[in-house]
């Protein structure tokens, strides 16, 4: 398994030899930041393209095929289009908040994105309460959405934002509970550490029944958290035209759009990290030859493969299921998912105490 920290360490020592430590760290931070944003953009583009192709495949269509080979440049076109579109300023809107909202959403998304451990030694933000930090960072997004709805001076936006607020705050709870279930199993909250503990088997296997329940709850709640799939009522097209971003045009809308897709990736990436072993290869005890072959596949490939698998699962759900109603969403959360999550947590504690896990 390749450890990326060797590379970073080498760069760090090389920089230290020519400049003082403070400057070196500053420089590294800038480089890392730029890389992060680049990767964020690339992921966004890949995600949007994937969404289109996957939904086209489900719907007996082809999806974009004309621009570039197999339509791969389609999203680039969209980016150019978005960048050159007019950004409309709404009269009677709260100008400052209106312009701020998309940046808050994107900020939350980038913050959460930077927590994902992509490879060994390739974590950007990684400390002992990483799980909490990720959740905290990702939930800043709801502030942006509420602001967008409030400041747009549009009734649809407002309803969309209120729905979104109610939904995201509720489902945060389930996400927390299901992650906590795994934290009980690992006794650490550091994301890189969580991955390391899965070297001898992914948690979804190690934790068996409670872990699988937690995984399912996580998928449902995660889907709701990013306002997608059957839970996309904040932007339910057929009810609220475009929900909280009805009044946004040009790149401001683009930011919401991108954040939505990367948030989906973040949810999938977290699922991959916590339940499916992150960048850990698949190891089957006893089959040493197989395990060695698996070890040759680099960690980030494993991570992305797992994350995109989860993304694909969520897309499948999104394109197949009808949308829930707002009261049904809250019923599902508070009457079913939260009690099940709590019971599941208890079950996991029992499993851990009596050492029933693998």
């Amino acid at each position: 398994m390749f450890d990326f920290s060797i590379v970073t360490q080498a760069i760090h020592t090389a920089l230290l030899s020519i400049m003082p430590e403070g400057l070196a760290i500053f420089l590294e931070c800038v480089v890392v930041g730029v890389c992060l944003l680049l990767m964020y953009t690339v992921i966004a583009i890949v995600m949007i393209f994937m969404e289109r192709k996957v939904c086209a495949a489900f719907q007996c269509r082809l999806g974009p095929v004309r621009v570039g080979p197999w339509g791969t440049l389609q999203v680039i076109c969209d980016v150019f289009k978005m960048l050159t579109k007019e950004i409309i300023t709404i009269r009677h809107a709260d100008r400052f908040l209106y312009n701020l909202a998309p940046y808050i959403v994107i900020l939350a998304s980038v913050l959460a994105f930077s927590c994902l451990p992509i490879n060994r030694g390739m974590e950007v933000l990684d400390f002992n309460v990483g799980v909490f930090f990720t959740m905290a960072a990702s939930s800043i997004g709801v502030v942006g959405i509420l602001l967008a709805g409030w400041s747009s001076n549009n009734k649809y936006s407002l309803i969309g934002a209120m729905r979104s607020g109610a939904q995201m705050i509720s489902y945060e709870l389930s996400i927390g509970l299901s992650i906590l279930t795994i934290v009980v199993l690992t006794d650490t909250m550091q994301l890189s550490e969580i991955v390391e503990r899965q070297a001898d088997g992914w948690f979804i296997f190690k934790g068996h029944i409670p872990a699988i329940i937690a995984f399912i709850i996580y998928l449902i709640a995660g889907n709701a958290e990013v306002n997608r799939g059957p839970f996309d009522l904040p932007e339910a097209e057929s009810e609220l035209t475009a929900g909280y971003h009805t009044e946004y045009s040009g790149m401001h809308f683009g930011l919401f759009y991108v954040a939505e897709f990367v948030n989906l990736f973040i949810i999938a990436g977290l699922a991959a990290t916590i339940f499916l072993g992150g960048w850990m290869p698949l190891h089957i005890p006893g089959l040493d030859a197989f395990n060695t072959v698996m070890d040759y596949i680099p960690g980030f490939v494993w991570f992305f493969a797992k994350a995109f698998f989860v993304v694909w699962l969520l897309m499948w759900i999104k394109w197949t299921f009808p949308r829930l109603r707002v009261d049904q969403i809250l019923t599902l959360e508070w009457k079913y998912l939260v009690p099940i999550g709590l019971a599941n947590l208890l079950l996991m504690v029992i499993v851990v105490v009596f050492k029933l896990h693998f």
């Binding site: 289109r52 095929v65 004309r66 621009v67 579109k85 475009a242 009805t246 009044e247 809308f253």
Partner: protein, 207 residues
């Protein structure tokens, strides 16, 4: 459809050639081309339909005809996010101000396609007391797609004509009409009491 298949628009090509020779600098020209390539391949329609043509418009988006292939993928329900409006169906006197308002709500650059006989000229309802005879009396139309309703293939052809049109435009100094910040601020601050009725502000109305 291949580029060569468009045989009926040579004059457009010639016009573009002349315009280019008229002195655009190379960098701006290239950037123009790049942006236009992007814009032309990513035209998002507004979900707007009034009657029969709307159903055919849906058919164009559906499985067999699938306009997502050409980048018309995302039909936006909010006019702010749409690039062009397909006026699919009859526009009546009651609808005309609404349509105009929708058009005004769209962000520049924006385009209009008149689909079907009704939108082009009033079609079979030309003599009616309540039908606008051609949507071009209220909006600047870019492409006309005749038919009653036009076949999905015709719509695809019309959409591709719009792509071609976009590709031949000049973005800088052309489509991208810049107005000064000051002017913009002024527009924003203008007193609207005189145009109250245009904003649909509730007023005392005597019957």
């Amino acid at each position: 459809m291949k580029y060569e298949d468009f045989i009926d628009n040579e004059y457009l090509e010639k016009m573009a050639e002349q315009l280019r020779e008229g002195g655009t600098n190379v960098v701006l020209g290239c950037l123009d081309d790049l942006i236009n390539w992007g814009r032309s391949n990513s035209l998002w329609p507004l979900t707007f339909a009034t009657s029969c043509c709307g159903i055919e418009f849906m058919a164009v988006g559906a499985a067999r005809y699938d306009f997502a292939r050409f980048g018309f993928e995302v039909t936006r329900a909010s006019p702010r996010q749409a690039d062009f409006i397909m006026v699919a169906g009859t526009i009546t006197h009651k609808m005309a101000p609404v349509l105009k308002r929708l058009y005004d709500q769209m962000a520049d650059p924006k385009y209009v396609i008149a689909v079907g006989g009704c939108a082009i000229s009033g079609g079979p309802f030309k003599k009616s007391y309540h039908v606008v005879n051609g949507v071009d009396t209220i909006l600047p139309v870019d492409v006309y797609i005749p038919g009653c309703p036009p076949r999905p293939e015709a719509m695809l052809y019309g959409l591709m004509q719009l792509q071609r049109k976009v590709r031949l435009e000049r973005f800088f100094g052309g489509v991208n009409k810049q107005i000064g910040k000051k002017e913009y601020e002024e527009l924003m601050r203008r007193d609207l009491t005189a145009e109250k009725i245009d904003l649909n502000v509730e007023t005392e109305h005597k019957l």
